[in-house]
Symmetry: D3
Subunit: 341 residues, 6 copies
Amino acid sequence: MSKKVVTLGEVMLRLSTPDFKRFVQTDTFDITYGGGEANVAGALCNYGLEGTFVTKVPDNPIGQSAINHLRRYGVDTQYIAKGGKRLGIYFLETGASMRASQVVYDRADAAISEAEISEFDFDKIFDGAVWFHTTGITPALSDKAAALTEAALKAAKAKGVTTSIDLNYRKKLWSKEKAKEVMTRLCQYVDVCIGNEEDAETTLGFHSKETDVTKGELNLEGYKDVFKQMKEKFGFKYIASTLRESYSASDNGWSALVYDGNEFYHSKKYDVRIVDRVGGGDSFASGLIYGLIQEMGLKDATEFAVAASALKHTFPGDMNHATLAEVKVLMGGDASGRVQR
Amino acid sequence: MSKKVVTLGEVMLRLSTPDFKRFVQTDTFDITYGGGEANVAGALCNYGLEGTFVTKVPDNPIGQSAINHLRRYGVDTQYIAKGGKRLGIYFLETGASMRASQVVYDRADAAISEAEISEFDFDKIFDGAVWFHTTGITPALSDKAAALTEAALKAAKAKGVTTSIDLNYRKKLWSKEKAKEVMTRLCQYVDVCIGNEEDAETTLGFHSKETDVTKGELNLEGYKDVFKQMKEKFGFKYIASTLRESYSASDNGWSALVYDGNEFYHSKKYDVRIVDRVGGGDSFASGLIYGLIQEMGLKDATEFAVAASALKHTFPGDMNHATLAEVKVLMGGDASGRVQR
Amino acid sequence: MSKKVVTLGEVMLRLSTPDFKRFVQTDTFDITYGGGEANVAGALCNYGLEGTFVTKVPDNPIGQSAINHLRRYGVDTQYIAKGGKRLGIYFLETGASMRASQVVYDRADAAISEAEISEFDFDKIFDGAVWFHTTGITPALSDKAAALTEAALKAAKAKGVTTSIDLNYRKKLWSKEKAKEVMTRLCQYVDVCIGNEEDAETTLGFHSKETDVTKGELNLEGYKDVFKQMKEKFGFKYIASTLRESYSASDNGWSALVYDGNEFYHSKKYDVRIVDRVGGGDSFASGLIYGLIQEMGLKDATEFAVAASALKHTFPGDMNHATLAEVKVLMGGDASGRVQR
Amino acid sequence: MSKKVVTLGEVMLRLSTPDFKRFVQTDTFDITYGGGEANVAGALCNYGLEGTFVTKVPDNPIGQSAINHLRRYGVDTQYIAKGGKRLGIYFLETGASMRASQVVYDRADAAISEAEISEFDFDKIFDGAVWFHTTGITPALSDKAAALTEAALKAAKAKGVTTSIDLNYRKKLWSKEKAKEVMTRLCQYVDVCIGNEEDAETTLGFHSKETDVTKGELNLEGYKDVFKQMKEKFGFKYIASTLRESYSASDNGWSALVYDGNEFYHSKKYDVRIVDRVGGGDSFASGLIYGLIQEMGLKDATEFAVAASALKHTFPGDMNHATLAEVKVLMGGDASGRVQR
Amino acid sequence: MSKKVVTLGEVMLRLSTPDFKRFVQTDTFDITYGGGEANVAGALCNYGLEGTFVTKVPDNPIGQSAINHLRRYGVDTQYIAKGGKRLGIYFLETGASMRASQVVYDRADAAISEAEISEFDFDKIFDGAVWFHTTGITPALSDKAAALTEAALKAAKAKGVTTSIDLNYRKKLWSKEKAKEVMTRLCQYVDVCIGNEEDAETTLGFHSKETDVTKGELNLEGYKDVFKQMKEKFGFKYIASTLRESYSASDNGWSALVYDGNEFYHSKKYDVRIVDRVGGGDSFASGLIYGLIQEMGLKDATEFAVAASALKHTFPGDMNHATLAEVKVLMGGDASGRVQR
Amino acid sequence: MSKKVVTLGEVMLRLSTPDFKRFVQTDTFDITYGGGEANVAGALCNYGLEGTFVTKVPDNPIGQSAINHLRRYGVDTQYIAKGGKRLGIYFLETGASMRASQVVYDRADAAISEAEISEFDFDKIFDGAVWFHTTGITPALSDKAAALTEAALKAAKAKGVTTSIDLNYRKKLWSKEKAKEVMTRLCQYVDVCIGNEEDAETTLGFHSKETDVTKGELNLEGYKDVFKQMKEKFGFKYIASTLRESYSASDNGWSALVYDGNEFYHSKKYDVRIVDRVGGGDSFASGLIYGLIQEMGLKDATEFAVAASALKHTFPGDMNHATLAEVKVLMGGDASGRVQR
């Protein structure tokens, strides 16, 4: 009845300042745990699927706390390996108005970056699974992590599991050249490719007409051009990108463009007042995966994904806590935010 | 010198999540106590009148805490009966942007719903009072509470006290049919009838042209048509309704329409950035009651009420803490929010 | 290498309610310490200059806490005198939407208002300094404080230090007549004069065409007219004013007008979503001082100051914590608030 | 490898005041979720067993939050039924010194009290289980809950699962007479019977010499006498009782007495400085169950249970978060509380 | 039915650091409002009497917040005058172990210190009152306040109201000489005189054998000697003193000695683990007043007062929130602190 | 006038759970920054000396926050190098009663462990200094850090600066063998050697009779024997050790033993109720350094150090915030913890 989706990646301890404080001002941190693939697993559990998250965490109370956080939201954590040096950390300072949010990463030597393929029984992990999802962050962590990602993708394909990847280029983790080399190799095992605004070029090397992402203007034609190139090269079944228009740190426009090799579909656009935008892309990915697994059709799946991820911006933390019902109400056109009694 | 206003209803323990957290995310609740009629009594005390709130609370520390909360804001609590099973509770999760606020009620078997008429000495309670106010929530709690409401209204009328009711239909408490039957009986004792957007139809059965409240568009003609029918059937002295335009959970348009049997008056409209919209309707009711008691005339009373309730949206908690001076400044046209030093 | 800027004034304990609570609602206060000149010293340290703040605080743990707060942000506190009765306090309730922020001052008998000139060794204090800044608040505290301010200005000028003043009229501290008399005397030692919207008239007696500051409309011509009069009378090298357009307590327009005796320059205008607007004027002053010390030229210095102070509105507390890099990015045109990873 | 233990009972929302505040003083509640059997399941998960908790919670976000809380600590929640009116609540005010902690229950009409036997597939629930535990609170909730408890005990016995019960008499839930009648019926299915100081008499009607529990003096002979009677009547395999000596709300003595039908064993006594004593008895029960499942022998199992539950008093919340390693260190004699680096 | 007790004095804003933080460490203050006489009025309300507190607070939101705080706990605030400069403040840092709590007073120019006798209608205030209580702090605030205290005492006596005073010498407010002069004048109107360990000597000039209060040893004979002298000189009906033995900031011994002119009675002694010891003396005074009003007899009244004030040490804030029932249980001998369910 | 003391070592971000929560329970961390040598520098500033702390922190907001924390408490941070990978972190869970505090270190690759000697101008750093202090933790961080420590010690000795070291063996950082080799080399530059209970043996290889530190019994003779051996081998001027008796995580005995080559001195012992014991040893070291610099003589310096460090246990955070006055009062025999008004 419930459908199993496996995701693989890093879960980090997130330490964020409360009440718009700067790092230098704060005397407390709010704690949550997140990471692209963990966020996807959590959101899918929230929709009723069986989200299984695969990673490695240190065998100490901080690693255990990460596991507990994921379990709280229903994620199956039984395949998480334990050991290694540390849990990666990221520090977050939430911006407002023209002040950008700041992220300070402290993720070097995270347990997952040192994990061996042999620590994971992919045959068992993918048993009964319908989907596998990962992101371009995981292979960027280390060569070992790249090899692990490739092994997982291969194993998934071998089991007939649909695969998706969110490109998610992180310039602090690797060079464009390295990214291009590794991601090109990985993409041969990918069915559904999701990018955000800057990834296709940096990660896969596809060039489009300039989109100045700081201006909040979209260059749809550029995207379409790149999508066509991506389809041609990798034969992806679907290609999707969220389209964020950053009016300010407080208000964004949010929509998505998808492509099935034949047609492009540009979703409805939402203007969101932001509570916490971290994890916005992950909530789109999980929404799209949900929609496709539920066989909504690409357009409805996209509208589901965009509505879901618009809602994500209103929750603190990395994970999307929107309910199925809420997503469907918004997707159905009611953005009035009237009290639900 | 000070004027006594009596209100009758339920006061609940309100438990709300901080910082836009979902229920599933929070490890603390912010506490306040509220309820339509308690909120009205509190706001009137704030304006210098003598607000007397009549209810029943359990004889335990939670009931006492509700009393203490009301006393803190000046409400006369001497007629509150003690006993019964429990204090009603409601859980609140404040929404943002397209995410609606969620309310979970846990109010069954509240002490007030089991209260006997004999527990209240209405003769003494209404002694010296100039106004009595209640809402459609109180009779919806139970048959006993409906009987108590009717007894109070009758006692007020017998003492020459002006009466008002806020229709406030709550679909989880009773059916439309039951509501219509009871409220029709109660309205014969009512001088001033206040509704919000959906109540007149559900509670009293008056049909107007469709107003799709989720779209944020007002259907003033529909309201006027309904008001005329209400006037005709019940002979209310004044009929009033707030007009909420829900752009999102963060931003609303806010105005009011009033009718004195001759003329309609549509107030100035405010666009409010919302801190906490719960109690918005109650703050309008208390503002209107204040204006009418102070003999401002209907238009000014309405502008006072709309300005007061626009300000309510900027305070956390159910109760309106706007001062007389602040309401008058806003009513006078200064919505600039400049620092008051 | 680092450049020394001296400021003189009061530092107060600031007690603010959290989460938009009213004073009557709160059971905790957030603590910070601030004051016009202290805020300027702190912001300049943040930009890499050597901010030295001169004041007097009581010789008790509250006074020490104020010193510690300033030291935390790099301010040189070695010339702060200790003794006197108390630290001034101000209570702050942050407004939202049409609700104005409220400030309650409790600053009478603050240590600085009773300080003797002899408690400060201005010869040493100004040794190596390039700039001295104070505000119209300091001389308003008491006759002694006015004498101290004058002594400091004289000493600065004698040492060849550039001087600036922010007029900052506070009606609760002194009358217009007294202000005019004292400030006229002080302004003879001033090179750069900064005002906000209402100060030039109240403090120095210059009349312009009406600017109704509550309407959010700017009267640039009126400002220009006044600036010319100010230039003529006092021979200031630069005159500057921030231009705040109060759309509401949540949203303001923010720009500045400067005058060098020849030309007027009206900066870019920012629409800011406000986290905390206290200290906005001080952050403009510190930005302008920084720009002029760094010899950016008046226009760039002004754009730097306006960008810096626009950012200030997004930080809690009185002090500006924007980094040089952030100010320059905003000044360069990127107000998109995109996450900095 | 991991051993499955099933527990059945109520999980409640616990709302506690922070920092020793009285109910009338607090403006926030700390949230946790607990209940005797849920606490046992959670502690066993913590020790590496497979704790499965069976209950019914309302199908709303409050019920979901309870489930999430349990999942966070590893409890298997798959058999929890959803529906019914509400989640039971208890309010807690933690005492200190001679001030007792106060508990206000608001648990009437909790979903579990209305649950039908047919909502639980005990055949599946007990599949693979080695132990079943419940308490005297569950049958006290309602006749339906008593029938459900009996059905569960019967099903467990039929499957060859060891059973235990903690008598836990709650005078606000039922009369002694009713308790005696029901518990006598249930005890025929019980292998291990755990009481606390007052339960054996009130619940099962066994009389001993007076133990004035308010004096903090133990009456071991009285306990022994009662244990013998219990053994004789019900043939329990093991009978155990914690022995709490309440020196004050801050400091307690803590030990246990066990009986295997032949010998009595009085454990080591710990003097505990209390952080939160709620759940102390449950942590003893879970420790004893763990020890017996691990075949430690009764004495070691008892010492394990007493050490575990002594540690429980140092954690906030109902559940025991002591690790296996910590319990074993304490059991081994090191109560020095030295920092573990 | 309810008995009216009037108290007169100062209510201050109390700002305390949380979690044992030093002033220099904290970024928040916990807020409460207190003062000797306000604390007495509040505790008496808590016991069911009618506590009426007379003071003057500034006509601003801080003054209003003090009133609201008192109302919350049932105090009749209708005779509180409004106006003057400011509300007195005191800063509190709670100590632990050998670290003493620190109090920093900032109470100069408090509104009550400038209040005129004519602002209070004592005829009305004492109408129906059975008791009047004040402390030696109030006359120490200023000459005006001393005159006000004298006027109140005279008015009370003229109305036949029993009077009590708590000597409470504060060395920062006045000299021993001034204290002696004023207090000697006031004591002629006093029926019941309460001191703490150091007051009788400093305030009234009675010398006894040395009691080194820092050693935690009591010098009962010295007390008795002083009490006899006090009785002889002033003819007090009862003289009482709490006896605090400061083992450390965390643990104190607590008892009392009373004298009726014939016999001395030394109460039971409690060893208290301290949560907040501020207001300990006031809670004794209110307990004694309650006991005497209820005609318990001096010994029982004393035991009531000591038990009540022992419990006070377990509540945060200045006011005693112990219930009548709790005091009676403790007075009856149960200090076990067992959970009350 | 003020005397300069230089310390060298690591400053870490400390993340601790509030309110005795376990790591797995908490959703917030309290933040402070600490490390043995930083704590010493801070405490010395608190006593009026000039504490200069030398380290390296990453050039990011987390590194800056560490600097700001130190500056807040007066530490001279001008010689702190910037760069490297990250700031070391340690996670702290404060224990109670028999539950030990837990520390999880995450300090690998901290900036200071990779610092080059050339990043520090020791000639300038030691200019005017009277004392240099470091600990055995710093050389344990890495070979580079050991070399840096040696360079600093040599430079200090070359400048005639008195040197001290706190042995502080950390088993997670290096082996006993490595520690012995490096520390033996470093100790040739040391004048004053401070150990705690386990260090002399593990770090320097001196064997004494068994002291079972978990039993809370002291083996003074064993210490004396070891001190003599240390004196003989290294010729230290003074050798000192704190003597902690761990009754529980809540209560400890605390004294010290010192040796000047001729005589042993065992200080007064304090029984401390613990708020936060981290940094206890550092506060002893800073107290001893202060006493010796102030030429108190060894016995008084030791009593000062023990009193100071006993007080440290009552402050949250790593640093000692006891004032000179407080230490002297305690040293003088008043441990009564009476309120200081």
